[in-house]
Amino acid sequence: MKILLKNVDIIHPEDKLDIKGTTVLLDKGIISKIGELTRDDKADAKEFDFSGKIIVPGFFDMHVHLREPGREDEETVITGCNSAASGGFTGIACMPNTEPAIDTAEVLKFIKGKSSNHLVEVFPVAAATLGRKGEIISPMAELVEAGAVAFSDDGAAIKTSSVLKRAFEYSGMYNTPIIEHCEDESLSDGAMNEGINSTLLGLPPLPSVSEDIIVSRDILMADYTGGRIHIAHISTKNSVNLVREAKKRGVKVTAEVTPHHFTLTDDLIKSYDTNLKMSPPLRTQEDVNAIIKGLKDGTIDCIASDHAPHSIEEKESEFQYAPNGIVGLETIVGLSFSELIHKNKISLGDLIYKLSINPRKILNLPIPKFEVGSSANFSIIDPNYVWTVDILKFRSKSKNSPFDKRLLTGKSFAVINKQKMFFDGQLIDLTSV
């Protein structure tokens, strides 16, 4: 099947490509021509008029919780991939806090196998320690061989400094990063950020220093061992400053932020809406400002959703007893454009780095090429499309989002990868006739 994408802009900042209003011809999902087409080229090609839309290297969300194996009632590999495709992603990294945890090659291959025919590529992050217990490091060599792109005990930080040291040393052999959920367990029994709002709402407080302590520890350990540390879902002003300062010193540290941590603050929790409960918790406007600054100056490398599906029954509970996390794959692009591009916080080029190029670089994955002969790996975005979030339309099995009914500007229209296209709610096989 030949398809023709007309009147579209192409932007690939890594390859210094910025072409306006051009035409792209794909033959069975392979880029066969960009620019002027002949009549022959156009013969029996299915045409898409993509005026006002941009083609960018396929977006990659490096922090996704697929609930399979273990909680298939909340999300499966396939529904998670559908959610990713619908949200504008062609690749995701999934976190190891499944049941069982991704701490053996078998579990890892099981997940890869489930996704192998999907447009969205799934790259598992393996547990850093056996069962994510923080005691013995996982079989990292075998896990890397099976396809692990990073190690993490996400949901919690690696428990002790000694195990963290070994994890850095061992994973260093394969140049694989450690992704840390930075939270000091002994300070983390609260339900929301400590401050005036926790005081007013009578909710158990969780101090921001809990995050900062582990960020400091991890930076120091990465520096000492020469290992690579990636800070997941950074949320505090001090942590942003710590990462900035460490980068200056040459420590191999990178960081990601979620859209909710640059969009929302703990002021909203007044409603006790459990869709505002996440880990790390929503912080203050001062933290949000620091995060925006960190996104601007490159301290924060990536935007990731921390997509965390939960069943309605579990979220429909008392705030302090409710599970943490929200689904995010289908709102991350809209929130990034609304909050960062349309409010002139960062450039489009920077956003493409943070949503596509940087996560792949951190995980040692190849960057999609926009060259004739390459398999197309595209996200096709309408930056100016105004839409209202409707959780009932999510492809994810779960609907736990605080962004329901929110008006956003910017949306993914289609994704193309692995010779497949997701467009208008449909998965299209581009190799068929």
């Binding site: 909710l203 006790y272 579990e314 979220k315 509970s317 008392e318 705030f319 007893y321």
Partner: protein, 306 residues
């Protein structure tokens, strides 16, 4: 005389006129409680459920008595322990109760925000009888009523809340209510028991109990929780009693005729010495009696005017 709200979830946003109305109404019911026959037909035919997800015999009995004095039909629904991870069960419980045509729900729960949640899923009037470490509005109202009766006013009074402010549901309600009525509120206790940023509420923080006694007209002394979790917030009971406990000696030394409130039950020898707990400054049992009148007032105002 009606309140501006259908529910009593807390005192944070309750206007002065409403508090005034509740206190004045309580005063008329206080008089009923002195009669030989202490019952009025005001809420005849109304059904009230006391939904207690946390045991609190004193509060429940006080509400129950208030309901009976007003001739309402009272139903007790107690669930021991919290409903951790049973959110749907909780919602089902509420829906079930409501299906029985209930007019009002009095709720006590270990989790902050539960009364607000109830207002979203059912149509009855909701009264918060204590939610987590958030609010306990009727306790604060009875405290304010008791102070007003004893001193004659609230406006301009200096009131200090002493003890474990961070883990108290009484403190916040008292702060909001007293400030609305024009009192100056401070808190005194070990810094580990003072919630962060409380000064942003216009509340002074005092770490010296003698200073608290000297500078205030009223001390509202909170109960120190002695179970393990709360015990981690201070070094020892001995140290607490020594530096924050109120003794007759301390009262005499500071030469003040100060009013002492305590929501009960008291840990004698910890936050109050036995001498003070039985002494002439405290009004602990007076508060208990007023508690019934305050709850009658709240039930009456929400039950008949809304």
């Amino acid at each position: 005389m009606a309140l501006s709200t259908r529910h009593l979830l807390g005192l944070q946003s309750v206007p002065k006129e409403d508090i005034q109305t509740i206190l004045d109404t309580a005063h008329t019911f206080r008089e009923v409680l002195e009669r030989p026959i202490k019952k009025v037909p005001t809420l005849q035919g109304k059904t009230i459920v006391n939904l207690f997800y946390e045991s609190s015999t004193r509060t429940r009995i006080s509400f129950e008595l208030a309901e009976k004095r007003l001739s309402a039909d009272a139903i007790n629904f107690s669930v021991s322990g919290s409903s951790v991870g049973k959110g749907e069960t909780f919602k089902d419980t509420i829906k079930n109760i409501e299906a029985m045509k209930v007019d009002m729900v009095i709720v006590r729960h270990s989790a902050a925000g539960t009364p607000l949640y109830l207002t979203k899923i059912c149509d009855s009037n909701i009264i918060n009888a204590g939610d987590g470490t958030h609010e306990h509005p009727t306790q604060a109202l009875l405290d304010m009523y008791s102070i007003r009766q004893k001193i004659g006013k609230l406006e301009g009074l200096k009131v200090c809340i002493v003890g474990d402010v961070a883990h108290s549901r009484v403190a916040l309600s008292n702060i909001f209510g007293l400030q609305t009525m024009g009192a100056k509120v401070s808190v005194c206790g070990p810094s580990t028991m003072i919630p962060k940023n409380i000064n942003e509420l216009g509340v002074d923080v005092i770490y010296n109990i003698d200073e608290a006694i000297q500078e205030n007209d009223v001390l509202n002394v909170l109960r120190i929780q002695l179970e393990r979790k709360a015990r981690e917030y201070f070094p020892s009971i001995r140290e607490y009693a020594k530096y924050f406990g109120i003794t007759q000696e301390r009262l005499d030394k500071n030469g003040k005729d100060i009013l002492i409130l305590h929501p009960g039950p008291i840990n004698r020898g910890v936050e109050l010495s036995s001498e003070v707990a039985d002494g002439s400054n405290q009004i602990i049992l007076y508060q208990v009696t007023n508690g019934v009148a305050i709850r009658m007032a709240v039930l009456y105002l929400l039950g008949t005017h809304n």
